[in-house]
């Protein structure tokens, strides 16, 4: 494959981990890798993007508070229309990544393949892998027809490795006028102070589910996570119930985690959840239902009442610390 683009998401700490994962994978699939980024100071990340394989970064520029979806997609569509386009565009499966991918899809009249967890070259194009049915099966798919393939890739599908490339060349790619589609504005940002490691980076994740019985019991999950220097997570059921914020959700519609140890407490292990944590190195599950699907992926499964096991575990660890 000749050229792949990667949508590069940049925070105050530089390009996101997922961005670097995508650049690394793109490098192994294409001769030329280019990034597309936005923000006030794209030049400051040209070094890192280059180090991970991007020879060029198209800079959409400072969006002055506008949500990136329509603007970044317009800039990409503009370049593609001018014949500068790639054969494939890799998007991070993130809040903004999916927005840009959806907008670009409609602009180019090309469909999207989402929830991609694997990519391979095939017949001059790409073959994608998507986990289905709780990750028990893998669907492989590909695009047909003309035009670039749009892929939305899940976190931790690939590992990020620098290649030692020189800084990417920064090329301005202004979005042009997008009319009313670009009218959504961020008026204020709220950063929620999280103590401890981030959910998708933590070496240990302790998650709670509906088996906890009540919202107040989630405090035990938080305490256990704290004692293990890990991050607390949640199943979709208790996020839907409003017990914990969406940012805690592990699963198909939430975060993908691959910690060293994952502790599932009162989680039955619906497909939705398994997809997001099955890649953990070691899995511990506590559930009172012996038939719960979570036990099919557990290295250590305790068939028991989470209300008895969890407090005893917290107490035992408190004594040690």
């Amino acid at each position: 494959m000749k050229r792949i683009w990667v949508l590069a998401e940049v925070t105050g700490q530089g390009p996101t981990a997922l961005t670097l994962e995508l650049l690394t994978e793109a490098r192994s699939l294409a001769t030329t890798v280019e990034a597309v980024a936005w923000g006030a100071d794209t030049a400051s990340v040209a070094g890192t993007l280059g180090d991970y394989g991007a020879s060029r970064v198209y800079d959409v520029g400072d969006l002055a508070g506008a949500l990136p979806g329509p603007l970044v997609a317009a800039a990409m569509a503009g370049l593609i229309g001018a014949g500068e386009g790639p054969e494939a565009v890799l998007f991070p499966a993130s809040y903004d990544g999916r927005d840009v991918a959806g907008r670009l899809s409609a602009r180019l009249d090309r469909p999207v393949l989402t929830n991609v967890t694997g990519l391979a070259e095939h017949d001059g194009g790409l073959l994608t892998e998507h986990p289905v049915f709780g990750g028990t099966q893998i669907v492989r798919a590909r695009f047909t027809g003309e035009g670039p393939g749009i892929y939305v890739v899940r976190a931790k599908s690939f590992s990020a490795e620098p290649a030692g490339g020189s800084p990417a060349e920064v090329v301005a790619a202004p979005p042009g006028d997008v009319g009313p589609t670009g009218a959504a504005r961020i008026v204020r940002r709220h950063v929620e102070e999280a103590t401890g490691p981030k959910l998708d980076e933590a070496p240990i994740v302790v998650s709670g589910g509906r088996g906890l019985g009540a919202q107040e019991h989630y405090a035990l999950i938080e305490e256990l996570a704290r004692l293990l220097h890990g991050a607390p997570g949640a199943s979709r059921a208790i996020v839907d119930a409003g017990w914990v914020p969406y940012s805690h959700q592990v699963g198909q519609t939430g975060k993908t985690v691959k910690p060293t140890v994952y502790v599932a407490c009162g989680i039955s292990g619906a497909t939705q959840h398994l997809v997001g944590m099955k890649g953990s190195k070691h899995i511990v599950a506590i559930n009172k239902d012996r038939e719960a699907p979570i036990f099919s992926v557990a290295d250590l499964g305790i068939v028991g009442d989470v209300h008895r096991v969890l407090p005893a575990l917290v107490e035992a660890l408190q004594k040690r610390s």
């Binding site: 409609a106 028990t136 709220h190 509906r210 250590l300």
Partner: protein, 311 residues
């Protein structure tokens, strides 16, 4: 527990047929039990809007996620031959629309859906919650449509309704591609705010708290717009018996592709520009040690963690 008994549990007991009644009863019991916290929580999240609004909610009717799912052997598309129900993810959007339009004379909530075989059972659920009417696009030629084709079809149906606001779930429970609402917004030529965890409006713009990696952003967006909501943003009401009865006579306009002026060859399996090549079994994890807690469960976990040298 959100209700007295979850759907899955009812199903295990073979009582799911009585779910609506049990839910209504459970809801009442739950209200009594958690009267203080729950009522306060909902009051705190209640949306106040006095402007007249027409809200469209995209509703997907899907195979029951609790039933075993399978792929069609030939086409590898999801088998949708069984009874369809409203995607639970959409109940939050329906509830939000009802709250946004609620109680204002002239405001209305319209459901828009695409489903095979004129399927309306999921739409009836949303109508029973309180939506006024529904538009269903059903056409044999739509089978096998990709998300972009679906977005085109829904966009055509939504243009007819000319709403002030379109609400959708961030993604469906069965397909979870999560790109359709934004594709829809681009096709309609309007802005979109995804991953909303709180929404308010004055009838001319929406103010949204949008989930981010680091926390959330306050986003302002003029109407018309597409907003996608995450689960848990509001507490969906259960249909009342009165609502269920009323839903039976609410209008559902069933439209074909020809009605919408869409070329059948551009959508469905024929128009899809992606294909499933094959389906293979994933790598299995090795069997673990499953033990029944005899009061030593916590100690076993401690020993396991010690062995891994994480404590």
């Amino acid at each position: 527990m959100q209700g007295v008994m979850g759907d899955r549990h009812l199903r295990q007991l073979g009582l799911h047929r009585y779910a609506p009644a049990a839910k209504a009863l459970g809801r009442r019991l739950q209200l009594l039990r958690r009267a203080d916290e729950s009522a306060e929580w909902r009051r705190g999240h209640r949306i106040v809007n006095n402007a007249v609004m027409h809200v469209v909610v995209c509703v997907k009717q899907i195979p029951d996620p609790a039933a075993p799912a399978s792929l069609e052997p030939g086409t590898h598309t999801l088998d949708r031959s069984g009874k369809l129900i409203m995607d639970d993810s959409d109940s939050y959007g329906v509830e939000m629309a009802l709250q946004l339009a609620g109680g204002v004379e002239g405001s209305e909530v319209t459901l828009v859906s695409m489903a095979p075989g004129g399927e309306t059972s999921g739409l009836r659920t949303a109508l029973a919650m309180g939506a006024g009417r529904a538009i269903l696009v059903s056409d044999e030629a739509l089978a096998g449509s990709d998300a972009l084709s679906t977005a085109k079809v829904l966009a055509a149906a939504i243009r007819r309704a000319a709403p002030d606001l379109v609400i959708a779930a961030t993604e469906s429970t069965d397909g979870y591609t999560g790109t359709l609402p934004v594709q829809l917004a681009e096709l309609l030529g309007i802005p979109s705010v995804t991953f909303a965890k709180r929404v308010s409006t004055d009838g001319t713009k929406v103010e949204v708290e949008r989930q981010t990696e680091a926390g959330y952003d306050d986003v302002e967006c003029p109407l018309p717009a597409v907003v996608t909501v995450t689960a848990g943003v509001v507490e969906p009401r259960y249909p009342s018996f009165k609502g269920i009865m009323a839903a039976k006579s609410k209008p559902i306009d069933v439209l074909s592709l020809a009605d919408l002026g869409i070329d059948a060859s551009a959508v469905g399996a024929e128009g899809a520009r992606q294909e499933i090549v094959d389906v293979a079994d994933a790598e299995q994890r090795g069997a673990g040690e499953i033990v029944v807690d005899e009061g030593d469960g916590a100690q076993r976990i401690v020993a396991f963690l010690e062995q891994l040298k994480v404590i």
